[in-house]
Amino acid sequence: MDVLYFAWVRERIGLPREKVETEAATVNDLVAELRAREERYDMAFSDLSALRVALDQQLSDFDAPLAGVREVAFFPPMTGG
């Protein structure tokens, strides 16, 4: 599964994307796995209310299932316009 990070999430984790081997059932499960890896992941995901998630380039929720998903992206609330 491709996991992408944008804006300050990318900066805190230190990379824009990575391949992750996971059996996580939901986004929350994936987040728990990532946080357990290293301090920088734990920091980046410390406040989920400040984060958004997209599954295969569609905005989604942290309790959404990951079955069939190829690309997960984490980022802060958008600030376009």
Binding site: F6, R10, A54, A73, T79, G80, G81
Partner: protein
């Protein structure tokens, strides 16, 4: 419908004229342009915009499609830049063409409200001392969606 996500600057007037010229069967044309504010005492030296290639175009197309379903429109244009831009430069524009002015206005406001909070762009402000800070999303922008 034309959705363009680009790094290069665009010519607001030329885009506006081209859009209007393509829709002479429409009585009302509305444009909105977002500009990097250039304030005399502002330490801002540049704005940098990051985006999510692929999802950006999909999200903007989705927003524009919904606007076309909701209002009687002849056409919709969205241009949004990413990368680095200087104070005074245009960041983005939307344009709507409609038979009636209310549709053109409301659709343009709708496009802007959703683009602000639902299209994957992130702004960073670069100040004179070299520091940079991510622009925080405003509650008022999220609240703006509730009227639609």
């Amino acid at each position: 419908m034309r959705i363009t996500v680009q790094e290069a600057a665009f010519d607001l007037g030329a885009e506006t004229n081209a859009f209007a010229a393509g829709h002479t069967d429409m009585g009302a044309i509305v444009t909105f342009t977002g500009v990097v504010r250039d304030l005399p005492d502002d330490p801002l030296v540049a704005m940098e915009i990051e985006h999510y290639p692929g999802m950006t175009e999909a999200a903007l197309t989705d927003i524009a499609t919904r606007a076309q379903e909701r209002w009687h429109l002849g056409d919709v244009l969205v241009i949004h830049r990413y990368g680095r831009m200087a104070p005074g430069e245009a960041i983005m524009m939307v344009a709507t063409a409609a038979p009636h002015r209310r549709d053109a206005f409301e659709a343009a406001e709708y496009l802007m409200d959703f683009l602000k909070s639902r299209a994957p762009f992130w702004k960073r402000e670069i100040t004179a001392n070299g520091a940079s800070e991510w622009v925080e999303a405003k509650d008022t922008d999220e609240d703006a969606l509730s009227r639609w």
